[in-house]
Symmetry: C2
Subunit: 505 residues, 2 copies
């Protein structure tokens, strides 16, 4: 090894790491889509071994020395420098934790998640108290161990896993601004939206929905030579950048959900596919973080595809492929737009509309931050949830099933993930505004089903950057300023209060 | 590690190895069935890393010491002892070769296979001469290196990879017996079989063929909770024992091929699925070798499913599911049986019938043995092929495409694989005879579509044994004697000359 520069040794090692993670990604796709149930145990063993071997590749004693040596003779090339930073970041996260803590946490999460599945079904919050308390205790220990290495608060250290360098102290004021403004927008939106439209009558056979989904994916720029569309219980985007696989599920009574879910996942897929090809198997070539990832799905879904402009183009296609006639009743663009921009405050995050979704996230952000800080005990969570829901959305929470039991995240140990949904929504609004400013034809392009100009801009500005710069730097370079909640709020007002793009009714 | 016994350390390591190989197995299935073409490069990188890491797990310096230590205090349990022997065997194969030879061979095979694809299409044997000569040179080096470790001839050392402990000197007399006897059986079979039956008229939509295939698989005992049926260019059996996946391809003009291919692969699948569950991730829990594997597919296909007894039961089901009427014309059991037992000597191995298939294998066995021994140069291969085909089957070979260019094996470096096809066919005949002797109801059971008694016998006698004993010992324990070509020849005579089971015409 004497003649090989440390960075070359590291790149070989990180390429292997990427291949192991990519292999695991394909195996995850398989288990969610096509694996027979009886294969679960064997698959778990395969994935556990891939994970363990990836961890060992990353934490082997020589890796720290190689990183030190590589950092001692920095490369002037910004991609090489960013790649080395991304390597160091992964190494820091992997070596921050003693392996017995990782194992105890994994074990506690598995047990808690299993209990939670039953507890949610039976609305039995008492049953999850002890297992969630155990998960929380170990998660706090993880946060503290990581915080020492990263030099930040324990909650920030958890957040950092999903969103590099994000800090709660910076997120809180943005979320406060949303929390104080959204109730007013919601009231105005409810007043402005008029009576509920009647959705087109089904049934819509799954194969027709799928044919439409494929057509729309192609319209957006999805390349089936490098990807797939399949079915799974929960829609997701998986696979690897050159073989990116999205899934959806079809409700034959109502096609609108599956179609929009596909467009959302296509946004994720276009991002993965657009990552810098020259750095495919290196850390700098992979996705930047969850907020940028979510911004790409929400930009496609919320900014582009729920616009009146795009729906004007899509409505006759949907009518033709779903109902067999481009002018089928109920499939006019106005009805479709009203359906896709309907606001209705409710208790369930995953069913929430674009205006109220951030409120759900803010509630969870505040509660999980307090739990990690030690300011909120698991025993007090159901009450704090009810109080928060009342304060933020004015809703009573009649059952814990529709309250603190609704999401899997905490019960599976994922603290620090929730904020990325709304960081992504704000980022999407700001990026879309910048895209239109840079290429003013974009709204007209979308009205003709032409996604090329928008996709080109996203590729140049976001996708092809990989992890070259941080998310805040990427956003500032793309939009001229840091993350600004007022862009997102302005978008919500225009769409839901001013009902822009709609014909007078 | 001081308190852990060496065998426990080895079992942990070999379990990991199994998981890596199983992960690669699922990824291979994926690339053959559902992977978009654009994912090929990324997949190759994933598989190469899994292979390299598996090789490193197996060849790490401590493994030899651990094996020595474990062997120094042998375990009285026969499974433990057999597991240790299987570990030592894998280690010996993996460490026998210098890594630069492995790399040079892999490179030469990839280049030669690529040239071969074009050369076969263009019938250009001159084009493959140099690349095949290079593959042969390196394969001979590999054979010599392995032979030194295993204490056998170079050709045997190659054979050993596919069929543990098999030796050409033991195979040759068995094959000679076939070669001298088959021409007479063939002549008699051609005289006995009468005019060619007219196959049922299609088209047969792929979805109907698939529905029939699934029904037949279930009849045979295939458990879809632990497996799948899909489509691929070439039928195969892949996946892992608890998630065993077979594939086929459908020709809408003729359903008979796809159905029989599915039954063949189901035989492989039942073997994998029946391997000893308690040893899933250890070497002793895996398939014994290619001749036993092929015996399980050929027993199901040739011995059981091409029998008049089984086809009597299957014919109305095939007629119903393919033609919509259990009494559809052309679907009577006699016609079907005559179709499925038609003999017709030809130039192409993969199209050969049960009587002439061994002749194709024997030709290849003799030629490849001579090539490895240095007695046949690549330049002389086309002529030797033509001569052999004339001698063995009395056929002229008008083009190399239908001669020495037809099979991928040698061009991809697989010398020593061919004999296992015919070892498998002979083993299948002998095992089936023993099964019927042990459970005389089996022919009647098959005539009712009941595979339970046959499958139970196979599980107890073959599948559940894993690698507990060698293939010869397994066969002797199951049938009371070593491999005897006359059992296979007797089967051929009964079926093709005496036309047993057929009604008088």
């Amino acid at each position: 090894m004497e003649a090989i520069p440390p960075i070359a040794v590291l790149k070989t090692r990180f390429a292997r790491l990427t291949h192991l993670q990519d292999a695991a990604g394909v195996l995850h796709w398989d288990l969610s889509t096509v694996m027979p149930a009886g294969g679960a145990e064997a698959r778990a063993a395969q994935l556990a071994t891939l994970k363990a071997m990836a961890h060992e590749l990353l934490t082997a004693p020589e890796v720290g020395d190689l990183l030190d040596a590589a950092e001692a003779s920095p490369d002037a090339d910004p991609w090489e420098a960013a790649n080395l930073r991304a390597m160091r970041r992964q190494w820091r996260h992997a070596t921050a934790l003693p392996s017995d803590l990782v194992a105890a946490h994994a074990h506690a999460c598995a047990a808690c998640e299993m209990t939670w599945r039953r507890a949610r079904a039976e609305n039995d919050v008492a049953a999850v108290r002890a297992p969630l308390a155990r998960v929380l205790t170990l998660t706090r220990e993880i946060g503290q161990a990581r915080a020492g290495v990263l030099g930040c608060d324990p909650y920030d250290a958890l957040l950092d896993e999903f969103e590099p360098d994000a800090r709660a102290a910076a997120i809180a004021p943005l979320f406060d601004r949303l929390a104080e403004t959204l109730p007013g927008i919601l009231d105005d939106a409810l007043a402005a939206q008029g009576p509920a439209p009647t959705p087109p009558a089904g049934p819509f056979p799954a194969d027709r929905q799928e044919a439409l989904a494929r057509r729309l994916m192609e319209t957006l720029g999805f390349d089936f030579h490098h990807g797939r569309l399949d079915q799974s219980l929960h829609p997701f985007c998986g696979g690897v950048p050159d073989d990116v696989r999205i899934t959806t599920r079809y409700d034959e009574a109502d096609a609108t959900g599956a179609i929009m879910a596909v467009l959302h996942e296509t946004g994720h897929a276009l991002y993965e596919r657009g990552l810098p090809a020259a750095w495919r198997d290196q850390p700098v070539g992979r996705a930047l973080g969850m907020s940028i990832h979510e911004s790409q799905s929400l930009l496609i879904e919320m900014q582009a595809c729920r616009s009146r402009a795009f729906l004007g183009w899509a409505a006759p296609l949907m009518a033709e492929l779903l109902a067999g006639d481009p002018r089928a009743p109920g499939w006019d663009a106005d009805t479709l737009h009203r359906l896709y921009t309907r606001v209705a405050p409710g208790l369930i995050r995953v069913d929430a509309d674009e205006v109220t979704y951030p409120v759900h996230v803010i509630l969870r952000f505040r509660l999980e931050r307090a739990m990690i800080a030690g300011d909120l005990a698991v025993d007090d969570l159901p009450g704090a949830w009810r109080e928060g829901m009342k304060d933020l959305l004015g809703l009573e929470v009649p059952t814990d099933r529709d309250g603190c039991l609704q999401d899997i995240h905490w019960y599976d140990g994922a603290f620090g993930y929730f904020p990325t949904y709304t960081l992504g929504a704000m980022t999407a609004a700001q990026l879309f505004q910048a895209a239109v400013a840079a290429r003013p034809s974009i709204p007209e392009d979308l009205a003709r089903g032409h996604f090329g100009p928008l996709l080109d801009w996203l590729r140049e500005t976001v996708h092809e950057k990989g992890c070259l710069v941080t998310a805040p730097d990427l956003l500032t370079a793309a939009t001229g300023r840091p993350l600004d909640p007022d862009v997102f709020l302005g978008h919500l007002r225009a769409r839901y209060v001013e009902r822009m793009g709609e014909r007078a009714r």
